[in-house]
């Protein structure tokens, strides 16, 4: 029994961290620009593919490959933001939904064209392939690394948002875009940088998580729901909200997969619906 609980806690934490890394960028950009970006998971998929490409074709080791993938996706997201997304800030929710559904379709087809339909994962470096023992149990080293990375990133983001000038401008713009503009904050630059950062983080999550969320063309549509759940339950424009929501979702999802694999996912969805009806603005969202 203890063993099962420990397994759930460990693997749940690992999956929660990947969810958090993927989703946190969307929470920030949605809170900042009010843009319903359904294509956010496509950036995670792109990050996964880019890192896989860097290891297989360029022969890069694991860490540089992931970093290259993140950088490529963040860079590629800048023209997308400038030429597509920025034109629809303040447009109707429907227009934003339609544009980003279109992007999902396009991204899915492109992924299939270049990488084929089969699911793929990043090859782990030998250092991270083994097992680590905790007491009598052993767990994959790689997932320890993911959990550590997730907590470290959460800390870094918190520092960045709470303790830097950029973070202060970001918070100001989330609170009130117009006032932020009127005190001289270049919000359009801010939006672009935040969007690129969020896309880069999604790419990082996609690449790191490919071990248990294999990258395939359907990824952009399939992972969309988990990403949106984390954002909606966490609440917009907060850093801790998505962290909490990712923990809840990761742990409960892992728990039902262990304990009730038959109908588990169904009950997760049901719980999410109840939770959202109870707190429509999310657990920590501002109403």
């Amino acid at each position: 029994m203890m063993d099962v609980a420990l397994s759930i806690l460990f693997h749940g934490l690992a999956s929660a961290m990947v969810l958090y890394i993927i989703a946190v960028g969307l929470s920030v950009t949605l809170g900042l620009m009010g843009f319903v970006n359904l294509a956010h998971a496509a950036f995670a998929m792109a990050g996964g593919y880019a890192a896989i490409w860097a290891t297989t074709r360029l022969g890069l080791p694991f860490v540089p490959a992931v970093m290259l993938g993140v950088a490529l996706v963040a860079l590629a997201s800048i023209p997308l933001e400038r030429f597509l997304y920025a034109r629809l800030y303040g447009a109707s929710e429907l227009d934003q939904v339609l544009l980003t559904i279109g992007l999902i379709f396009v991204a899915t087809a492109i992924a299939r064209f270049f990488f084929g339909p089969a699911p793929q994962s990043l090859t782990l470096p030998p250092v991270l392939q083994g097992q680590l023992e905790i007491g009598s149990r052993s767990f994959p080293t790689y997932r320890f690394a993911i959990i550590a990375t997730g907590f470290a990133l959460f800390g870094l983001l918190w520092l960045g948002v709470e303790r830097t000038a950029f973070g202060a401008r970001l918070r100001a713009a989330v609170d009130n875009v117009r006032i932020a503009q009127s005190v001289g904050i270049r919000t359009d630059h801010l939006f672009t940088v935040a969007f690129a950062l969020g896309s880069g983080l999604a790419a990082l999550g996609g690449a790191l998580g490919s071990e248990f969320l294999p990258i395939r063309p359907a990824y952009a549509a399939e992972q969309l729901n988990y990403v949106l759940i984390v954002v909606a339950i966490g609440g917009l424009g907060t850093l801790f909200g998505p962290f909490l929501a990712a923990l809840l979702l990761g742990l409960s999802d892992t728990a039902v997969r262990y304990l009730a694999p038959e109908l588990g996912v169904f009950f997760i969805y049901l719980a999410i619906i109840v939770l959202l009806l109870w707190r429509p603005a999310g657990l920590l969202g501002r109403a």
């Binding site: 319903v36 939904v97 339609l98 279109g102 949106l228 999410i272």
Partner: protein
């Protein structure tokens, strides 16, 4: 004298309700297709099913102003309801249609009453989550739905006991056409009735409607349930004419596809389904034949282009050209 504007408004509303000659066009085209495109009747029936599905979404999106990512759930519920009834109890198509419409309408009423209190992202999330939840349930209830293999052995009796579903799809086409026409009459009547006008009011300014004393939530739930029932009817016809139901009726892609159809149709509410759905289905058929794996790229690209550059869609383009022509004619 003070009643004059009111009278004028009433006359305008009555005028709007009058049947215009142009409205016969889609139906004439559909009948013409039956005679002249008899090799494509199977595709034709699919086009008609999607037209009804898109029309049901138009009631939500175009009139009530409700954006949903999960409209496919009602199409799927209708398809499974009709399919399961045919497998288990009765193959009568009209009974199946009525049953499926009722079941999906009830599902719409129930879910609408629960989730329509939410707004924005939360509402979008809820519609998507319900879609995934129902898909998961349909996958797991394999004894009833056939699970991942799909629902097989859907055999449908002749329509009204007389018209057998033939190999060439003639009956299927005309049956679909009749159901779409009935659905169109329902929607057309509704939107010109006070109910439909109040939906437009909700779309334009829900706060003011509330201040006027309109039961906002109840109207929205009613529209949601009616749209769900019509989507279920479309799903039922799809199950009956293809005699098969697969889990992909509960897919995000189908929800996205039906949104795309409406947007392609463009600005003309009520009629855009009749432009967008055929356009989408024919484009899909053509693109998939050119390239069976990557046609979604073009659908996505089309969607992006329409949203960014041609917000009025095909009908918007047509009416711009028409009014330009008129301006030139009357200087």
């Amino acid at each position: 004298m003070s009643t004059a504007p009111l009278e004028e408004a009433v006359r305008a509303a009555a005028h709007r309700h009058r049947v215009r000659p142009l409205e016969a066009l889609p139906w004439l085209a559909a009948l013409a297709a039956y005679w002249f495109a008899s090799d494509y009747l199977a595709l034709g029936a699919q086009v008609l099913v999607m037209t009804l599905f898109a029309l049901s979404l138009d009631l939500l999106l175009g009139f009530a102003g409700i954006v949903t990512l999960g409209h496919a759930v009602f199409f799927g519920i209708g398809a499974y309801a009709a399919g399961i009834l045919a497998v288990r109890a009765s193959g009568d198509p009209l009974l199946g249609l009525a049953f499926a419409t009722a079941v999906s309408g009830a599902a719409g009423l129930l879910s609408g009453a629960v989730i329509l209190r939410a707004r924005g992202l939360t509402f979008l999330m809820l519609t998507l989550t319900i879609l995934l939840m129902v898909a998961e349930a349909a996958n797991k209830l394999a004894f009833l739905t056939g699970g991942a293999d799909g629902l097989q052995g859907v055999s449908v009796d002749p329509v009204l006991g007389a018209y057998r579903f033939d190999l060439f799809g003639r009956t299927a086409y005309l049956y679909s056409l009749a159901v779409v026409f009935a659905g169109f009459l329902v929607v057309r009547t509704l939107i010109h009735a006070p109910f439909g006008r109040s939906l437009v009011g909700l779309r334009e300014n829900a706060g003011r409607m509330e201040a006027l004393g309109a039961p906002v939530r109840r109207r929205q739930v009613a529209a949601y349930a009616i749209a769900a029932a019509l989507a279920g009817a479309a799903g039922a016809v799809n199950a009956q004419t293809t005699q098969f139901v697969a889990l992909n009726v509960f897919s995000f892609e189908l929800s996205g596809a039906v949104l795309t159809m409406l947007i392609l149709g463009g600005a003309g509410r009520l009629y855009r389904a009749f432009v967008g759905a055929p356009l989408y289905m024919i484009a899909q058929d053509w693109l998939a034949r050119l390239d069976p794996t990557y046609w979604f790229f073009w659908i996505g690209a089309l969607l992006i282009v329409v949203v960014m550059f041609a917000r009025g869609g095909v009908l918007g383009l047509a009416s711009t050209l028409l009014s330009r022509g008129r301006e030139r004619a009357t200087p």
